[in-house]
């Protein structure tokens, strides 16, 4: 073949494979079990997906990632089959890759900034992150090492959710002695009590905690800081204290009938199911309101989790009631898709007005009203306005209220930390330093309910600041 032919012919554009679909459990099957729904990429799928990455000079994905994961670098390592290198690269910036790969709203973070996504579909970064993190677990690749010596400096971490685990890991890797105080009998915070098994298997959370144990972190359970131990006692016994107590206190709508039997908060519903394993009653003693027609109020991730949990608890009909439109739902797109595939109906532009009960005081229906979107409010979203005369009834024998949560007041109140109007701890944004010397805070207790990755990012900033403080001001 004459060599010049190849040069003269127009070079065919390399054909990019489409975004690889995630293998999942079928909807008709998964509503009868609690196993994880997405099954994860295998090696072939992962490499095919990795081959789609443009390796941009200015990668948008990295700026979109709250912790700044070096995404194009680890993706090219996947392509080369260097999975150990890939997980080590992620662990330079992220403490919880197996968790973030599963529960981050990637469409708003990394994938939302992917340059490939401008014209077509972005690289499935979350699925690739999950793939290498799962590979790390499955193959027992250990990239974290316990530090050689100890600084002898002590840090207390209050709360073992995403921000607390991050701070504990980072400080332990820097050689500090870390003790985590947790009010529940197991570590993980919202990762345990809030996010269901079928979205995030608890074994993964346990393994992340085991990583920390290997790094020398101590855990003390069943300690309610602010009561069992006071912030003053922690301040006296430790060189630095980190507050990562999250935003666990549920909000309610304060509409008539909210006290009825069958109306519960999403936190209660999910806590009973996730942590207390009420779905295995009577083997487990905890019970849970079981309904044929379950209604969930709200449009966030927690609402979607509750709706999907209801199917698995045997509901015949699950309805979500949300006051805005689908594009404004704060829930992850993928979870909304999962919920719909499982049969969940979503009533948009609808708000509950009151709950209607039977003679025994058990909820039977919800009086709802249609909503019209008005001008934009402070959050930049259209303000929901009820349409007069548009009332209608939705039958429901279990109602789960998932309209948001607020910060726990206990530690700031007892510890004298400055809080804002919403009860969130006021911190210096770059360092997480609170108004009380020796105390730092990050995660939902500072920001209000946000994502796991954002809590982790806050934790990383906090850990850096605590380390600097310990090394310089505590005279190491």
């Amino acid at each position: 073949m004459p060599p010049h032919d190849a040069d003269s012919a127009p070079k065919p554009k390399p054909k990019r494979p489409p975004r690889q679909l995630m293998p999942e459990q079928l909807a008709a099957v998964r509503v009868y079990n609690f196993a994880e729904v997405p099954l994860g990429y295998d090696e072939d799928l992962a490499r095919l997906e990795a081959s789609r990455c443009l390796r941009c000079k200015k990668p948008g994905c990295v700026t979109g990632c709250p912790v700044g994961n070096q995404i194009p670098v680890f993706i090219s390592m996947i392509l080369e089959g260097d999975f150990t290198g890939a997980i080590a690269k992620i662990r330079e910036t992220s403490n919880l890759p197996a968790i973030c790969g599963r529960v981050c709203p990637q469409e708003l973070q990394c994938e939302g900034h992917c340059n490939l996504g401008r014209a077509g579909e972005p690289v499935a970064i979350g699925r690739l992150e999950r793939f290498v993190a799962d590979m790390e677990r499955r193959r027992g690749l250990k990239v974290l090492r316990r530090p050689e010596g100890s600084t002898g400096l002590r840090a207390a971490v209050v709360g073992s959710g995403p921000s607390g685990l991050t701070v504990a890991g980072d400080l332990a890797r820097l050689g500090h002695e870390v003790t985590v105080f947790e009010a529940q009998p197991a570590a993980g915070g919202v990762l345990l009590y809030g996010i269901p098994e079928f979205c995030l298997p608890k074994a993964i959370v346990r393994e992340e905690v085991e990583h920390l144990l290997e790094l020398g972190v101590k855990f003390e359970y069943n300690v309610l800081v602010g009561s069992t131990l006071t912030p003053d006692e922690l301040a006296a016994a430790f060189d630095a204290v980190f507050i990562g107590t999250g935003a666990p206190v549920p909000m309610l709508m304060r509409i008539p009938g909210e006290e009825m039997a069958g109306v519960c908060t999403a936190n209660e519903y999910l806590y009973r199911a996730n942590l207390m394993k009420a779905y295995r009653h009577p083997e487990y003693e905890t019970t849970i309101p079981l309904g044929r027609q379950v209604a969930v109020i709200g449009g966030g991730n927690v609402a979607v989790d509750a709706a999907r949990m209801a199917w698995r608890l045997g509901a015949e009909q699950v309805t979500m009631i949300y006051r805005r439109l689908e594009k404004e739902m704060p829930a992850r797109t993928e979870e909304v898709r999962h919920a719909r595939a499982e049969g969940t109906e979503i009533l948009f532009l609808t708000n509950p007005v009151r709950y209607v009960g039977d003679k025994t005081g058990h909820v039977r229906a919800i009086d709802c009203i249609r909503i019209e979107l008005g001008d934009c409010d402070a959050s930049g979203r259209a303000r929901p306005c009820p349409v007069p005369g548009s009332e209608f009834q939705v039958p429901a024998d279990v109602v789960v209220v998932a309209i948001g949560t607020g910060a726990s007041p206990l530690v700031p109140r007892v510890g004298g930390l400055e809080t804002d109007r919403r009860g969130l701890v006021v911190v210096e944004p770059e360092t997480g330093r609170t108004s009380r010397p020796g105390f730092w805070a990050a995660g939902d207790v500072v920001t209000g309910p946000k994502t796991v990755a954002m809590a982790m990012a806050g934790g990383k900033r906090g850990a850096r600041a605590i380390h600097a403080y310990l090394m310089h001001e505590r005279g190491y």
Binding site: R154, T179, A183, Q184, P185, Y193, K218, E220, Y221, N222, V223, L224, S227, T228, L229, E233, L234, A237, F238, P248, V249, P250, L252, R254, E259, M260, A261, G262, V263, C264, T265, N267, E268, Y271, R272, M276, K277, E283, Y284, E285, T286, T287, I288, P289, T360, G361, H362, S408, P409, L410
Partner: protein, 264 residues
């Protein structure tokens, strides 16, 4: 014991289990130094008795901070995990103290009114009021089997303790007491009808009144919202702000409707 010791204190040891009355009324004495050191009369603990057992809230009946001991009095009802507790075991989990302590003031004469199993938390409260220099009148009632141990415990700590056979007689006794001497403060613990009757009777005589409620708490840290009550027109969580409220502000209808909502 310092905070840096390995945590044997994260689990509570069961020192003794006594069945106070037939029908599953138990007193469990616990060795839980950390919790006992902080516990004040009127507070709660969250208990998981066994690995697969329910997680429930129980009012603290007696506190011995020096010895690191707590006593809980409860009815096991349908809960096998509580019925099967034995001395020498550890509780799966004990969290506390939870809720705000009872407000102990020196006011003169205090009437403590209690009906049923909820009345046992008045024992620690009575002792504290007495130690604060008050004349403490204990007025209690309970079912036949439960009454002798309750009356005996109250008699040991109150200036004067009286027991009645049923709730109606108990209200009568309260009326009689209010007529007979100047009571500065009344504090009631028991089911909603009792709280309602105490509130009405004390309001008529302008006696300052506080009511204790015992809603079911699940996590104990403000998470589940199960212990919500309406007080002064707003919602409050008993695990963070309760479970003792000013009688005039507490919405008892709300609590009555909540009680049928409680799951174990």
């Amino acid at each position: 014991m310092t905070l840096h010791d390995p945590p044997p204190h994260s689990r509570a040891a069961i020192l003794s289990v006594r069945e106070l009355a037939a029908g599953g009324l138990f007193q469990v004495d616990l060795l839980a130094p950390r919790v006992a050191a902080k516990a004040r009369p009127g507070q709660f603990v969250i208990v998981e008795a066994q690995a697969k057992g329910a997680r429930i809230s129980l009012p603290i009946a007696e506190i011995d901070a020096a010895e690191g001991r707590l006593a809980l009095v409860f009815r096991a009802n349908g809960l096998e995990s509580l019925r099967e507790l034995r001395a020498g075991q550890y509780l799966e989990a004990l969290l506390g103290p939870v809720g705000r302590p009872s407000l102990i003031e020196r006011v003169g004469t205090v009437a403590l009114v209690g009906l049923g199993v909820e009345a046992f938390c008045l024992v620690a409260i009575a002792r504290a009021f007495r130690e604060a220099g008050n004349r403490v009148l204990g007025l209690v009632s309970a079912e036949a089997d439960m009454l002798p141990p309750l009356a005996e415990k109250m008699a040991a700590v109150c200036t004067e303790a009286r027991a009645e056979a049923d709730g109606l007689a108990l209200i009568g006794l309260l009326g009689e007491t209010l007529r007979a001497e100047p009571v500065s403060l009344a504090l009631a613990a028991g089911p909603v009808p009792l709280l309602r009757a105490v509130r009405e009777m004390c309001a008529a005589r302008e006696v300052r009144t506080r009511l204790r409620v015992s809603p079911l708490m699940l996590d104990g840290a403000g998470l589940c919202g199960g212990c919500r009550v309406r007080v002064g027109g707003r919602l409050a969580l008993c695990c963070l702000e309760g479970a003792e409220f000013d009688a005039a502000e507490l919405d008892l209808d709300y609590i009555a409707r909540r009680q049928c909502a409680c799951h174990i």
